[in-house]
């Protein structure tokens, strides 16, 4: 509904965006079903894996969802958390079987190896933000810069999330960021760096970390609660897509309803921080229960 209201022109054409929005919705719904009880059932895990497969078969721009979700489940298995190894195996098999089956057919039809589709090869970095960086520095240097920035952002965000970052460091890094933006306006190379960093995963991690600090760690559910992790993963998927493939608003439109969920969460936390009463259907729990989310 949110997608159609905010992007009626896109939804009113024979284009994939409406189906992408539906796929994202179904991924969230099956994730909720999978995590509804404390003990995850194997049929619900299979349903979720199948939905992930359907999502990537609908559009390659959802390809980051499976590794994020499966990685999360694997991490929980390793930590002996809420998922068993059989849940991970079932999800993975249900996801891989349709994808492999179609890829075999596509490879046979095409005569050369095809994983899902060939579109990824042609659009990789085609309209993405780092393209300018590649043009300025060359591919190898640009990739190294990107990895270094991502590493730095991750380290910084981890530091903040765990509450170990001293305030002086935050002030210093904020000043560096502002200086970068100011200097960047006069230097094309620095501008490209700032743009990549600002619109990249760094922004997401930085935002999460800062929100957590601002809300006195009340938003940690975004990466600790299985329910909110799903919302974070969908947003992360589209951020990553903007980095490596497309940054156009059209391709981000299907994720808008998920942003609305994240915004509602932050508003509730803000209200709580201000001491305002918060209740009703959107009261949230951080112990992994889901039905309160929607």
């Amino acid at each position: 509904m949110v997608f159609h209201r905010l992007a009626p022109n896109i939804g009113g054409e024979i284009l994939t965006e409406a189906l992408i929005a539906l796929s994202v919705f179904l991924v969230l719904v099956t994730w909720v079903i999978m995590n509804r009880n404390h003990r995850t059932t194997l049929p619900s895990a299979a349903l979720f894996g199948l939905t992930l497969a359907t999502a990537v078969l609908v559009k390659g721009s959802l390809s980051f969802l499976p590794p994020l979700f499966v990685g999360y489940i694997a991490l929980q298995v390793l930590r002996k958390g809420r998922y068993r190894l059989s849940v991970l195996t079932t999800t993975l098999l249900a996801f891989l079987l349709p994808v492999i089956a179609y890829s075999v057919y596509a490879t046979h039809a095409n005569g050369s190896f095809v994983l899902l589709s060939q579109q990824g090869r042609s659009v990789l970095l085609a309209k993405a933000i780092p393209k300018k960086l590649v043009a300025m520095f060359g591919t190898k240097t640009a990739v190294l810069i990107g990895i270094a920035l991502l590493f730095a952002a991750t380290a910084f965000a981890t530091c903040l999330v765990r509450g170990r970052a001293p305030r002086r460091l935050i002030v210093l890094l904020s000043l560096v960021a502002v200086a970068g933006l100011v200097i960047g306006t006069s230097s094309p190379q620095l501008r490209a760096l700032v743009v990549v960093f600002a619109f990249g995963p760094g922004l997401l991690l930085f935002t999460l970390a800062c929100l957590n600090r601002c809300f006195r760690r009340r938003v940690s559910a975004l990466w600790t609660s299985p329910g909110w992790v799903a919302v974070t993963f969908v947003i992360t998927n589209f951020v990553l897509v903007a980095i490596v493939v497309f940054g156009d608003p059209r391709f981000l439109a299907p994720a808008r309803f998920v942003l609305l969920l994240a915004a509602s969460f932050l508003l509730i936390r803000l209200a709580e921080a201000l001491g305002l009463p918060v209740g009703g259907a959107l009261t949230l729990e951080e112990d992994g229960h889901f039905r309160e989310i929607f």
């Binding site: 009626p8 054409e13 024979i14 559009k59 095409n110 095809v114 589709s117």
Partner: protein, 121 residues
Amino acid sequence: MPGRSKIEFWEICIAAVLALIYGYSVFSDLSIPDTAFFVGDTWEYQSIALNFASGEGFKFGGLLPFEAYHFYSANPEYYDRFMDIGAAGGEPSTFRTPGYPFVLATIYRIFGVSPRTAIRI
């Protein structure tokens, strides 16, 4: 708990009714043309879906008469290329992921070829 299940059932019912009312309000006042663009992504999805629904395989190109595709216009720049590909037997569609053409083909098989119906669904 039985009570809890009942509440969830009614929650779903209310959500479904609201969704229907919303869907009707959105699409009843939109004048959606019953044609598809003959450019960009749309001509690929539309032709692959129709070719698949017609039993011609998961292929791109004018394998059917041009009018069958319900395209908005026959841009001369694309028309010749499109029909030439069709005359050569069509291109196996491995460039794009199959989900959307497959859903379109299913809709066309059930409701007949109508881009407007596909968009509304």
